[in-house]
């Protein structure tokens, strides 16, 4: 295993930024949800890489929990999307603007 740790961390940072960009730029709710999943995955790479290089297992335990949380978030997020779609017949965030300060 001669790959430098920084490669993994750098790749993870790039994927995380792509996920952030997806949340900020896309207006389709489902793609925003997928971008959030990508962000969580990017963090998982960091955690597994750090955990393996330090020989400390709790990073991988957290990854295990993050995956469960990602599954739960996907389920709830998609349920909310379905409820929104029934109400407004759209999944575009720009059309969901009831509240104004």
């Amino acid at each position: 295993m001669e790959i430098a740790l920084s490669w993994y961390l750098g790749l993870s940072a790039v994927l995380f930024a792509i996920g952030v960009a997806g949340v900020l730029f896309r207006s389709n709710l489902i793609i925003i949800l997928m971008s959030v999943e990508l962000m969580l995955n990017a963090v998982n790479i960091t955690l597994v890489a750090l955990s393996q290089y330090m020989g400390e297992v709790s990073g991988q335990i957290l990854v295990f929990f993050v995956m469960s949380v990602a599954a739960a978030e996907a389920a709830i997020g998609l349920a909310i999307v379905i409820a929104i779609f029934r109400n407004k017949l759209t999944v575009d965030v720009n059309n969901i603007n009831l509240f104004k300060w």
């Binding site: 993994y8 997806g22 297992v57 379905i82």
Partner: protein, 167 residues
């Protein structure tokens, strides 16, 4: 050398696929790109010899989460109305912000490399299911219980929010 080329291959494909997800017009295409990214991430876990996490990654993400996404996209019949995203100043600002954050993260990660706490070589058994299971059921038993509750909450909540007639 093999490990390095494998990493470069998987890393490149995962970034390209993530960008594909970002710019695809059709949600189904986006989801398929994301699945490719997730498989590459699973491959990356294998290069880190974290076999258990790699297997779980494929099972949970490709097997469950992405199927759910595709199912919902098709249920709502979203593929039929692809929309052009229009660029405005807010998004441009967001993009600039994004690039700054990205460059900072890459810079920090690259520079703190030599400052990392002394890193041992990868422990061969650290990624094995036995090690993870033993830690999970002793040191992290409370967290593990709570994750069970979390999944129960998600099941109940998804029903409450999405069922046609809830009572």
């Amino acid at each position: 050398m093999l490990a390095e080329s494998l990493f470069i291959l998987l890393g490149t494909v995962s970034v390209v696929a993530a960008l594909g997800m970002l710019i695809a017009r059709n949600p189904v295409t986006s989801a398929l790109w994301l699945i490719l990214t997730l498989f590459c991430v699973a491959g990356l876990y294998l290069t880190l010899s974290a076999e258990f996490i790699a297997v779980v990654q494929v099972l949970v993400y490709a097997g469950a989460i992405m199927v759910l996404f595709l199912f919902v996209i098709m249920l709502l019949n979203l593929g039929a109305l692809p929309q052009l995203e229009k660029m405005d100043w807010k998004k441009a600002l967001g993009f600039v912000l994004c690039v700054i954050v990205l460059s900072q993260l890459v810079f920090i990660v690259a520079t703190s490399l030599q400052l990392m706490p002394a890193t041992a070589t990868v422990a061969e058994d650290a990624g094995a299911a036995t090690t993870i299971a033993k830690t999970l059921f002793t040191r992290h038993m409370l967290d593990f219980e709570m994750i069970g509750v979390l999944l129960l909450v998600a099941t109940v909540g998804a029903l409450m929010l999405a069922k046609r007639k809830f009572a």
